[in-house]
């Protein structure tokens, strides 16, 4: 019921972008009331007063930003350092050059660009399919009434409490058996890994989408139905467009999860050429004979860039998505 009444769920959730708007609106309201000391021009600047009101907040902010950024600054700096070792990277920004980027991209021992492409293909395909499968399921749960519906919803939530990595041994044995019979989707194939990831497609994602689908008024479907549209047409041409923001969130969350996934990928992908960034880079630095820290840093920066860019680009939606699931 809460899902449909929704107020809290969407207050934070749907809203997504609304947080910004809300604050802006209230700031305006605030200043018009006129009791914000900084806004009034006539009163002389009082440091003590300013510090007690907002100054100390800036100190907290600066401390936290330093804490947040210093590993990032370190890795960027060492990626720009042409010298290889970890010790050489300690003097921040002492030298600037792109040699290590060239090294990691051209090292015949380290197929970085292949790993990168593998990761993008695996994570991208998984994200698209997850959104599709999840949206199909969410649509039926949201719009249709059928026996077993409540049971379906509950089991999806419950099953998702047990992440796939718990069953990694069984997944490995299952995939190696499948590989004996059908080498194209078995061990050491991207297709096989993607299929395993799709096992987790229903679940949190579906639940998130289900909540969002419920906020689209069903009178829209009914109007379309009266105009003669079938269920497939309603779904693909009307509903999917209306819920686009949540599709983006789920796609991004699924993409990030697959990029980050190490356990299953490291067990299923055996050849170095087939591996993903998470597996390849981890094995690279954990090898004690590999001493080229700058090249690794360059690889890390390049691997993180697409994810960080996507994340910041869709930031507003993600924040909404994160809370929407919970505020139900």
């Amino acid at each position: 019921m809460a899902a449909r009444k929704v107020v809290p769920g969407t207050g934070v959730g749907l809203a997504v972008g609304e947080i910004e708007e809300m604050t802006d609106a209230s700031t305006r309201a605030f200043s018009s009331r006129g009791d914000a000391p900084l806004v009034l021009p006539k009163r002389p600047f009082d440091f003590g007063r300013w510090f007690a009101a907002t100054g100390w907040r800036h100190i907290v902010g600066v401390v936290m930003v330093v804490f947040s950024l210093f590993p990032i600054v370190f890795v960027v700096s060492s990626s720009l350092n042409p010298n290889g070792t970890l010790t050489g990277s300690n003097a921040l920004f002492s030298k600037i050059g792109f040699d290590s980027y060239v090294r990691i991209l051209s090292d015949p021992q380290v197929p970085f660009s292949t790993w990168f492409a593998n990761t993008m293909i695996i994570a991208g395909t998984t994200a698209v399919c997850t959104v599709f499968l999840g949206a199909l399921a969410a649509y039926s749960f949201s719009r249709m009434r059928f026996t077993g519906r409540r049971f379906g919803l509950i089991s999806i939530v419950v099953v998702q409490m047990f992440p796939q990595l718990l069953a990694v041994v069984a997944i490995f044995l299952l995939m190696s058996t499948i590989g004996d019979l059908f080498p194209a989707i078995g061990l050491n194939t991207h297709l096989g890994l993607i299929m395993v990831y799709l096992g987790g497609a229903l679940g949190v994602n579906t639940y998130l989408m289900y909540g969002f689908f419920n906020t689209v008024p069903s009178s829209i479907d009914e109007a379309a139905k009266i105009d003669g549209a079938g269920h497939a047409r309603i779904f693909f041409t009307i509903i999917l467009r209306l819920v686009a923001p949540i599709l983006a969130v789920v796609a991004l969350l699924s993409f990030i999860a697959s990029v980050n996934e190490f356990v299953v990928a490291s067990v299923l992908l055996i050849d170095t050429e087939k591996q993903t960034l998470a597996v390849g880079l981890t094995k690279l630095v954990s090898n004690p004979r590999y001493a080229d820290w700058s090249a690794f840093s360059a690889g890390a920066v390049m691997s993180a860039l697409p994810v960080v860019a996507l994340f910041l680009f869709l930031q507003k939606y993600i924040v909404g998505g994160l809370t929407a699931g919970a505020v139900k």
Binding site: M1, A2, A3, K5, I19, T23, A36, T54, R57, V60, G61, V65, S68, L69, P71, I72, T85, L86, L133, L136, A137, Y139, M144, R145, R149, R150, I154, V158, Q164, L165, L166, A167, V168, V169, A170, F172, L181, M195, G199, G200, A201, G228, G230, H231, R233, I256, V259, N260, V263, T282, V285, A300, V307, Q315, V319, G320, L322, T323, A326, K328
Partner: protein, 540 residues
């Protein structure tokens, strides 16, 4: 409330349609579909059916009848669902459910099964496989045996030997298939050089694949005691006979050189009287052995205990530290008079945007004892064992996990704080409440209602937070007393991974038993969580 009742009515009493109405609805649905939709549907179903047919053929070839029946049944079901005019919900649910059942539900159940077997290094296959592999590994050349002329042949990437026996007959076989009459053999002098269905390898190819060629051992007949043909050079082969003799009737292996008799005593390997085992053995179910071993074997029970304790401590402290830091920051930055809040926010959520495996690897580099940035620069050349001291490594992990996790809690608390209506606060202020009282008595309870499910989810996530532990310390420092590769900062899930996939021996059975333990813990937590939050009852 009116919405709810309306809905309940709909759910409880679905409108009863007459047969005619249903037919009419079906026809209308069909008519609205359009030819394109129909084509796409036919194409997709055709593709599924074609793949299923192929799968059925392959399964029949390998005589996997049970799986074959399941595949056929599922395919039939899928066709029925999509060709039927009704079953509308099933049409939308089937694709996802198939993946969910196979790769989530089935594998969890299969883990449960493996936990009751001795599956692992040395116990990988059936008894027949163990016998043939034991025989093959103890092959020795029969002294003064004649040399057979051989030709290396290949079929579909698999190597085989074309052998000319002393009578001048051509026989062909591979590692798996014993020698059999070769059809259409052509001879160059006395030596068979090619046969139908096989490609003869050229000299250069033989050289290139020397390792594979010398590893070939083609059984002379179905009986493993007859030995196998091997070739050291790709042109002449010799008969090799195993030093072990397998007595199928008695089920015993006899070492011909020492005379020791190994018999099947029900432990999944041929065992001599003195307890000495021939490995590889085979896979059997061992009941609760793995669980009993994990709890009672003192060398395993110790690690299990401290790993479990640390897993709980790690998950709890991580949730608490990230939540309180996140909440504190949310309160600090929730002041509308403050400038630059957006910039702070973007900079502070960067740790959350970076893939966590990369962050953990970078932190591991910075915390390196002798070369790392923290020791060299921040502590001026000290050598603090951030990741190599059992206690300090745990502190380091918690610090790094705080770094990784606080932005999430910050965002969540920010959202939750802003969704608390202002008028409640103002009312309290008018009634004379102090800011701290407002926070403690009004805001915090409201916030916790919103955030509690997230905290539970976060606990469950950290309970299995593989990446942070594995990338940062790899579970180390290693506990040298334990027979399994376990360390002082391992949590349960990294221990599962290490027992199953690293080290000299892989023990899938024990690893699965550990998985089951995690499973039970998570199940208990979820039950409590669902009870407390009543979130399942609210589902509709």
């Amino acid at each position: 409330m009116s919405i709810a009742t309306e809905e309940d009515v709909r759910e409880d009493a679905p409108p009863k349609q007459t047969k005619q109405q249903r037919r009419a609805a079906g026809i209308a649905e069909q008519a609205s579909g359009g030819i394109k939709v129909l084509l796409v549907k036919l194409l997709a179903l055709g593709l599924v059916d074609a793949l299923a047919l192929y799968a059925v053929f392959v399964l029949a070839l390998h005589e996997q009848w049970a799986v074959l029946v399941i595949v056929a049944a599922v395919t039939a079901l899928v066709n029925w669902i999509y060709f039927s005019r009704r079953r509308l919900p099933a049409k939308y649910l089937t694709p996802g459910v198939i993946f969910l059942v196979v790769f989530q539900v089935f594998v969890l159940l299969y883990t449960g099964y493996i936990a009751f077997t001795n599956y692992g290094t040395g116990h990988n296959g059936s008894k027949e496989q163990a016998v043939s592999s034991l025989m093959a590994s103890s092959l020795e050349r029969v002294e003064d045996s004649p040399a057979y002329p051989v030709t290396v042949v290949e079929r579909g990437g698999e190597l085989g030997l074309l052998v000319t026996d002393p009578e001048g007959d051509a026989l062909v076989g591979t590692n798996e298939e014993p020698l059999a009459e070769a059809s259409g053999a052509e001879f160059d002098g006395d030596v068979a050089v090619s046969a139908d269905g096989w490609n003869t390898l050229q000299f250069a190819d033989v050289l290139e694949r020397t390792d594979e060629v010398t590893a070939l051992a083609v059984p002379a007949s179905d009986d493993p005691n007859d030995g196998a043909i091997r070739t050291p050079d790709g042109s002449s082969g010799y008969l090799y006979v195993s030093t072990l003799e397998y007595d199928e009737a008695a089920g015993t292996m006899t070492d011909l050189s020492t005379g020791t008799v190994y018999s099947d005593t029900g432990v999944g390997a041929f065992t001599a009287e003195g307890g000495e085992q021939l490995l590889p053995g085979w896979q059997i179910t061992v009941g609760f052995d793995n669980f009993v071993r994990a709890v009672t074997d003192t060398r395993l029970a110790g690690p299990l205990l401290y790993v479990t304790a640390w897993t709980f401590a790690f998950a709890l402290v991580s949730v608490a530290s990230t939540f309180f830091l996140g909440l504190f920051l949310a309160i600090v930055f929730n002041d509308l008079r403050m400038r630059g809040r957006k910039i702070y926010r973007v900079l502070m959520i960067l740790p959350y945007a970076i893939p966590s495996f990369l962050s953990a690897l970078v932190w591991a580099g910075m915390m390196n004892e002798s070369f790392g940035f923290i020791n060299q620069v921040l502590f001026g050349g000290a050598s603090i064992p951030w990741l190599t001291d059992p206690l300090l490594a745990k502190v380091s992990i918690l610090i790094v996990n705080l770094w990784l996790g606080f932005p999430y809690m910050f965002l969540v608390c920010m959202g939750a704080l802003q969704s608390i209506p202002d008028d409640i606060q103002e009312a309290a202020k008018v009634d004379g409440a102090k800011p701290w009282a407002i926070f403690r008595l009004i805001k915090l309870p409201l916030l916790l209602v919103t955030v509690a499910p997230l905290l539970i989810a976060s606990f469950a996530f950290n309970f299995n937070n593989f990446n942070t532990i594995y990338m940062l310390t790899d579970g180390g420092p290693r506990d040298s007393n334990a027979p399994i590769p376990v360390g002082f900062t391992d949590i349960l899930i990294t221990m599962v991974y290490k027992v199953a996939f690293t080290g000299q021996t892989r023990d899938y059975g024990l690893a699965s038993a550990y998985s089951i333990i995690i499973f039970i813990v998570v199940a208990v937590i979820s039950i409590i969580a669902f009870r407390r939050t009543k979130s399942l009852e609210e589902l509709n």
